[in-house]
């Protein structure tokens, strides 16, 4: 049995999911109930079987977003590790970057502010889901790159912290 992940549909409703694979099929535990399922290549896409239902789908995985086409509609599903809380992410200690494209909703800091590890820097919205971008370490805000209402691409810098000066060598 794999670890438990949360899967959100277009950023809205979230489901707790575990997967135990046996060969090319699997037992899926979705919100505490077990289902038998499989996903097999078919034509130029896939065939999903869940219990006695079979659907033709297309899928494209990009990081923690699983894009799906099913029932005539495209969906963006987010796979979230509740332990790591991937939605509240920073790329490195010095720079908080956008985990996905989106819009800036709230900027809680300005250059010069002292922040503590775990403190919320900004709030972004992607695919209708709001995420807090938090400071990975204690430090001082150096720059805020995106203003409220502006959009950005995945990986775009959002907030940087001042570099911690290395002790100079004699």
């Amino acid at each position: 049995m794999s670890r438990l992940f949360e899967i959100g549909l277009d950023g809205d409703r979230s489901h707790a999911v575990e997967v135990a694979r046996h060969g090319d099929s699997a037992t899926l535990t979705i919100d505490g109930r077990n289902y038998h399922g499989s996903l097999r290549p078919a034509g130029d896409g896939y065939e999903l079987t869940l219990e006695d239902r079979t659907e033709r789908i297309w899928t494209y995985v990009s990081g923690d977003t699983v894009w799906l086409h099913g029932f005539g509609v495209c969906w963006a599903m987010s796979v979230i590790d509740p332990e790591k809380n991937l939605a509240t992410a920073a790329l490195s200690g010095d720079l908080a970057s956008a985990p996905m494209p989106g819009t800036m909703i709230n900027v809680g800091v300005e250059p010069g502010d002292a922040v503590a590890a775990g403190q919320t820097l900004v709030v972004i919205e992607s695919m209708k889901m709001q995420s807090e971008i938090i400071a990975e370490r204690d430090g001082v805000v150096d720059r805020v790159f995106v203003a409220v209402g502006e959009t950005f691409d995945r990986g775009a810098p959002l907030v940087s912290l001042e570099l911690i000066a290395e002790p100079e060598e004699d």
Binding site: L68, H69, G72, V73, V79, A89, P101, R154
Partner: protein
């Protein structure tokens, strides 16, 4: 004069691909131009040859007329098709091409200039006998004159920038106070956007339909109309769904408004393909809006119902050939509807979306035409217009065209970027749309009805299961995540 043997297409994306296809069918060689962002694009792949453009911005590359003329010299292209947008309505560009001995596939520069200014074009339309909305004859000098004109024609009024477009420099006013504010906002917005703050006033039509007439004019004095298109379904003053014929235009009306469009085209010495845009009110009145001196995005619906390739006619007219048919040879067959697929989140205020198109699948079928310019793996950036495809369905009746288009949109698979395909499907399924009860405020008026419906629990469970089975997160063999999956994670 014979047809050019090689034509440069000064555009990108789906329209460049569409023009190249007609050139190939006419056995004319094609030259694509491209900015580095489009180097792997479909237009470059389909053209016989391609020349790179360099610009300070990606859009700037396609606006660099000197570089495009140099690309003609380099490739030996004898003519340029400008498509729409970019340089298509730039009279100076057309003249610069002529000076370099290159054919511009479009109207004469004088006609482009005359129609490029909203005040001047309205004056010309009125003189040619085209109905216009009551309003100021010229730009109003100041706020007081704007209010005086508004008092005379009656509220509500619309204040419009003469150089305007895309809804910029346009404000409505319901009384004198609102008119005061609207004048200031419209003129300052127009000055900022177009460097021209002139504003005029006209009567505001409530719940108007946008109806436009396609004309074709050759250099031998033949001017024809190819019927109307209704383009009332708009968001932010941009068309989203277009159809031909309009549900409210009968044959007699078509002849009448078609003839006014022909009269205007003749009055300005127009040649090539052009479109006379009008607004229609609830009482059956049609009023001149503007004339677009180029190919329109929505031209395929006219091609579907008339069987006439408008791009081919543009090339032939530019080469001096007479139109080989008359008005009596233009027949209208069935009904066609086009839906514009945009990379945007329609449910979040039509916010533009970006990303990598990981999966691209378009359907094929009876009466279906897909014009698109994307390839799998392509990045959709914010550098260009967010339109990535047009899906056009033709049927014997409007109902059949709607059903074919709905099915085609449901079978359009674009993964990796948020698109409006399911939103378009919901518009087509809306009972008011089906009834032909459309106006330019349709999407706002029916906003709540057009919101996505909640999925039933079983379908949602299928999607969740598919995502779990597709995600490498759940696969123990992939416990060490790939670099892409790692992006955005905490790092130790």
């Amino acid at each position: 004069m014979s047809l050019p043997s090689k034509v440069l297409v000064a555009n990108r994306g789906e329209i460049a691909v569409r023009i190249i296809r007609t050139l190939r069918r006419m056995e004319i060689e094609s030259v694509a131009v491209y900015h580095a962002l489009d180097a792997d694009g479909r237009a470059v792949r389909e053209a016989d040859e391609a020349v790179e453009l360099f610009g300070e911005t990606p859009v700037g590359a396609y606006l660099d007329s000197e570089a495009i003329i140099a690309a003609c010299a380099e490739s030996g292209a004898e003519a340029v098709h400008p498509g729409f947008g970019f340089l298509s309505e730039n009279a100076d560009f057309a003249e610069a091409l002529a000076a370099a001995g290159i054919l511009f596939i479009g109207p004469p520069p004088d006609a482009m200039r005359a129609m490029g200014d909203k005040i001047e074009s309205k004056r010309l339309a009125k003189a040619a006998g085209v109905p216009t909305l009551p309003g100021s004859e010229d730009a109003v000098a100041d706020v007081e004159e704007a209010i005086a004109v508004a008092d005379q024609i009656g509220y509500p009024v619309l204040l419009k920038a003469s150089a305007g477009g895309g809804g910029k420099g346009m404000r409505t006013a319901v009384d004198a106070d609102a008119c005061r504010e609207a004048f200031e906002r419209a003129s300052s917005e127009a000055l900022a956007s177009f460097g021209d703050g002139r504003v005029f006033v006209e009567r505001f039509v409530e719940r108007p339909r946008h109806i436009e007439i396609q004309v074709l004019a050759d250099t031998h004095g033949t001017v024809l109309h190819l019927g109307e298109r209704e383009c009332s379904i708009q968001r932010r003053y941009q068309k989203v769904i277009e159809e031909s014929p309009s549900p409210v235009v009968d044959e007699a009306t078509r002849e009448k408004i078609g003839q006014t469009a022909i009269d205007l085209a003749r009055a300005v010495g127009y040649t090539s393909a052009g479109t006379v845009e009008m607004i229609a009110d609830d009482d059956g009145g049609f009023y001149f809006l503007e004339m677009n001196t180029r190919l329109q995005v929505e031209h395929p619906v006219t091609e579907a119902v008339t069987g006439i390739d408008i791009v081919e006619q543009q090339v032939r007219i530019a080469a001096g050939e007479p139109l080989g048919f008359g008005q009596e040879d233009v027949h209208f067959n069935g009904h066609a509807i086009e839906a514009r697929v945009y990379a945007e989140d329609a449910d979040a205020g039509f916010l533009p979306a970006t990303g990598r198109l990981g999966i691209v699948r378009f359907p094929a079928g009876d009466g279906l035409r897909i014009d698109h310019g994307v390839v799998e793996g392509q990045e959709v950036t914010a550098s260009f217009d967010p339109m990535i495809a047009k899906v056009i369905a033709h049927g014997a009746t409007r109902e059949e065209a709607i059903e074919r288009l709905r099915a085609a949109l449901a079978a359009t698979v674009l993964l990796g970027v948020i698109t409006n395909t399911s939103y378009l499907g919901r518009v087509l399924a809306n009972p008011h749309f089906k009834a032909g009860d459309t106006h330019t405020g349709f999407l706002d008026e029916h906003h709540d009805q057009l919101a996505p419906r909640a999925l039933d629990a079983e379908l949602e469970r299928c999607l969740v299961a598919a995502a779990a089975l597709a995600s490498p997160r759940f696969d123990p063999r992939l416990a060490a995540p790939e670099p892409l999956a790692e992006m955005g994670e905490w790092r130790p």
